[in-house]
Symmetry: C2
Subunit: 140 residues, 2 copies
Amino acid sequence: MAQENFRELLKKHTLRVTDCRLDVLTLFSSNEKALSFRNLEDNLTKYDRVTLYRTLNSFEESGLVHKIPTDNGAAAYGLCQSTCSTDSHNHDHIHFTCDQCGSVECIESHQVPAVQIPGYLIKEMNFLVSGTCKTCLQSV
Amino acid sequence: MAQENFRELLKKHTLRVTDCRLDVLTLFSSNEKALSFRNLEDNLTKYDRVTLYRTLNSFEESGLVHKIPTDNGAAAYGLCQSTCSTDSHNHDHIHFTCDQCGSVECIESHQVPAVQIPGYLIKEMNFLVSGTCKTCLQSV
DNA sequence: CAATTTATGCAATTACGTTGCAAACGTGAC
DNA sequence: GTCACGTTTGCAACGTAATTGCATAAATTG
């Protein structure tokens, strides 16, 4: 996605267009995997940590990215599909965490199966799968 | 489960039998839901926080409890079934987090459906579901 | 009960995330 | 373009969560 599209994307979500936000979006789209806060911090050293935290938060609130809980506690963030909005999120895909390289991926090709639990009201689902990712398997 | 069974359980996992470990196991079994670190700390004030951290870690390594990641980042711990060992874990059940009371439950009645992703090696699965739990729904 | 290994408690440290505030920047109107 | 407004940024400080090192205490084995 080009720089110009990011401007549109931000405006569509009523977010101001700033250097930091454009750079964060660029980083996300240049990387097919989800990003941890650490990833952001390491790659965008020109911005303050606090600013990156706030950028992720505003992106999450606006439905630009979604938070993915992981086993180790350090959350990852994935770019949302165009079907997501501030109010309704639509990321019923599987999340894969690689034990080797630690990367987190959204497996868009695999939907999370629907579940019903008698007596419970289900609102959100998150299917976390871990093991060895494609890249790591090939590099053996 | 009685105190005597806990001694056996610990020995089976080559863990020394200590007051702290027995008390932690007692707390787990007296509570049908998963416990957060905070829960432990609040209920077992006679032990140091560091000791409780280390107890949970050794239990997790030995396959006595399993860590359940949650959306808010505060992990919960659930007692493993007897089918779990140090090497192979077997808790393919659904994990439910209640938005109201914050409790985490292992839904043993619901198995996690098997998935296969071409090119990936799958080792563990974690199905996180959130919403309103049975107890909170009834107390409205 | 003695010797050895492991667990515990305390203090200090590191890691992580948040808050308040002043300065800088983006936006829309003129 | 530039002005006024509201939002975003960077910095410093704060608060909490979790880890580490070390001396002491307790558990296991023979």
